[in-house]
Symmetry: C2
Subunit: 301 residues, 2 copies
Amino acid sequence: MKVGIIGGGSIGLLFAAYLSKLVEVVMYTRTQEQASQINQHGIVLKKATEEREVSRVKSMPFFEWSGTEDFNIVAVKQYQLPSIIEKVNQFKKSPRNLLFLQNGMGHLKLLSRVEAANIFVGSIEHGALREKPYGVSHNGQGVTNVAVYRGDAVELRQLAALGTADFPILYQSDYYDMLVKKLIANALINPLTAILQVKNGALIENPFYYHVIQNLFTEIVYILELKQPEAYWQQVISICKRTADNYSSMLKDVAAKRVTEVDAILGFLLEEAARRGKEAPQLENIFLLIKGKEIVGEAGL
Amino acid sequence: MKVGIIGGGSIGLLFAAYLSKLVEVVMYTRTQEQASQINQHGIVLKKATEEREVSRVKSMPFFEWSGTEDFNIVAVKQYQLPSIIEKVNQFKKSPRNLLFLQNGMGHLKLLSRVEAANIFVGSIEHGALREKPYGVSHNGQGVTNVAVYRGDAVELRQLAALGTADFPILYQSDYYDMLVKKLIANALINPLTAILQVKNGALIENPFYYHVIQNLFTEIVYILELKQPEAYWQQVISICKRTADNYSSMLKDVAAKRVTEVDAILGFLLEEAARRGKEAPQLENIFLLIKGKEIVGEAGL
């Protein structure tokens, strides 16, 4: 099997480092510069144990990608997806397998117009940090969940079989359920930790904050009409526990005055609420507080 | 007229400094130590203009108070009120006029059992900081509103007549309306600024934060069944503008890890909601976030 990975961010590098131990990987990057560095140095993977591994991976810039690999993993940011999809639809021959790894659920509405035999989606529960253009730190070991969005599962199961003990890939039967579970956890953990400026663990250790995430969860259950909410709640608690000492990505984005993923996360839930004619005052306030933080500048806003 | 002021905090000192220019004032303090210092140094009032004035005021500790003054102004914290009221009800002769200056509306339920001819309540819109046991800085010039809670208005109007251009005392005809207006402003400004760690002005300058206080205000209008909400909203905006560069008292309390006034402010609104069988999810979340901040300690909660 030959795997193409599109996107040289932390997740793209992480997948390239692990998968290249078992199959041939081609890494497609936005810049020629990054491709050159990967070709020169390989990909340096730093594990939580501080152990370092170097993988030889062939790399080239996006414009050389033509989708001919057996499997293509798209690991770009949500806002880069439209241009990637446009490119895919201009390939001479449609790619066979495309796996999309974006956060949230905002990208689902783009996938219906992608021309490919099989379309898969995944959700990542790893902590990974790109330390340099060819180096990634795998500082939170978790799992990758994958599911069929459209098409046949056989080749996705083959990809899942490439998972290892330190990089498991779990096949899931229901893509919507898989993504919504992750989305709910993100919706409860990321914005609140960014507003309160606390580690993820505070949300379950502080009884008042715990009460707030319970309240917000109740509103999400109402909006999405979840039939068996317990499993979703357990996932939230489990992620809070597992990442208790971590600062959420949204907290880091707010601190660095970067745009956050709040549109893809809470924005999706608010759109769902509107679509179903439901009110979501609690989620809306949390959403607005983050949007307010995004525009805070020197003016003291 | 002889005025007794009970409580040597910033508001007690402020009233003593201004009123002693026109009438005889006796200042009752919790400690003998503070009374001695006031007797020795007088009360030093620092105005926003940096001008300093010293007023000679007689002072003695609480236990010497017997309520014989023509007018008694109670300027202690809410949590000290029960013991003050117990003392009043043990006086040989009930006091003639009692004015209560506590924040919020939680104290109203205590006032029905106070034995005094006339009971008044007030709300303070001054910024004042106790700089030492006998010194107060008047750093935000505002007004004092006063109204009859029970009894006759004649002597309250006489007190209001002691107001001056730099220390106005405004007679109001409806005590509930007066207190609730202040409470609503406090409920919208104090907790949010403490959560976001911003100056009061940010709530109207940042369009997303502005949207949040609008949402919260809508919930308050619903809970209290306000018939003409515009006047209340205008008061909120006007306080935000007037105190744009200030940090709210709740923000300072949270920063100093002190207990806040959130029970007297949001707690009152949540009790009202419960009493009227209404839901208040937005106010509850803001309340819980402040309660959570109150218990944040070294454990990183």
